[in-house]
Symmetry: C2
Subunit: 217 residues, 2 copies
């Protein structure tokens, strides 16, 4: 690892207290220095445009207002592929991990990580280009197992819209009106989702949507 110059990084997290605290912590690592912080992807974009220098590394929260982690990592991969992105989340969810890695993140870890491990992860990412914990590795292996199963459920645009509307107090008929479709079509979506997701009733839909962050409370 280079000792000549500190690696610079940016922190993107809407929890100001966490971001500021983390900045303090990271600045105690001799190899790293926080360049700037942002509350969400959009703020990061303007920060990058205004501030002449790019960070070597970005610590990216996933749950954020305005522009979340998924959108942000997509934008970064598109516009600044050289910047390493480490995703940071409170949630240990396979779907989310895969989504971020597919989006271009070079690593993923939970907010309950030990500071020493964080430091190790930062060093790894700069040295080797990536850092994957055991948890993330096993998730990826599972996802790539061809024989086993394809747990990745793909929802069509309309199915997603229906699912989100089903998480309200609307009846299916009302949903059909909103979506400008026949109630029978809506019933088709419902049936299809029940099969795909392995659930039995509308409550199952709500639970699924919540667990997979397809809706917000």
């Amino acid at each position: 690892m280079s000792n000549s110059k500190k690696y610079t990084l940016a922190i993107v997290d809407d929890h100001l207290l966490f971001a500021s605290s983390l900045e303090k912590l990271i600045n105690t690592f001799p190899e790293f220095q926080v360049l700037y912080k942002a509350r969400h992807g959009l703020e990061l974009q303007t920060e990058i445009k205004n501030n002449g220098t790019l960070p070597d590394l970005i610590l990216l929260d996933i749950n954020m207002p305005v522009m979340n982690g998924f959108e942000t990592v997509a934008w970064l991969t598109e516009n600044h592929p050289k910047i390493k992105v480490l995703a940071l989340s409170v949630e240990d969810n396979e779907g989310i991990i895969l989504k971020m890695i597919r989006g271009g993140a070079k690593g993923y870890f939970l907010k309950d990580i030990h500071p020493d491990d964080l430091k190790f992860a930062l060093v790894e990412v700069m040295d080797k280009g990536y850092y994957y914990s055991e948890r993330v590795t096993s998730t990826m292996v599972n996802a790539l197992q061809p024989g086993a199963k394809e747990p990745m459920v793909k929802l069509r645009e309309n199915e997603l819209t229906f699912l989100q509307l089903a998480c309200s107090e609307m009846t299916y008929k009302e949903i059909a009106d909103v979506m400008n479709l026949s109630p029978k079509t809506i019933d088709g979506y419902r049936q299809e989702l029940f099969n795909k997701l392995g659930i039995k009733n509308r409550v199952g839909l709500v639970i699924y949507a919540l667990k997979n962050h397809l809706i917000e409370l």
Copy 2:
């Protein structure tokens, strides 16, 4: 404020990275020093018992495994009433704020607070005994308005149990079996809850339970 001696404090939060970072931040405040950290209420209890000295102040997260913020503040108020407790949460929810304050917390703030404001809050709490932000104050005023309304919906034991079971894929008949009651009684609970909570169907129940932390995902 006393300059002779630093105030000591403990941090209780299951997110190790956040807790450690916050420790670093707070230790830069000349008036304060972090005595120890714990991942949840239970760990705090053993820490307090083992470690001879009590902290002056505890920063307490609400969402934690094993023993959450509500249980912890209740225990602290019961066993160590002299310790000031500041609740710390990601969620801006009136019900939660009131629950913590009723439990004995001397203040409440969100994790997106600015570090300077945190410092101010810490100082306030030690000097004046409490710190309430505008947000918290307005919440309390609302809650105490006698004429306006009583938004605090009280759920009976059975109603709560039913509500929680209703947030699953069980049918009402199955719920009746589990609770050893007639399906008609369950229907009565349902009707009563719909009226009390102003909702129209079972999805409304799920949403309500989630928003009020009556169930976990």
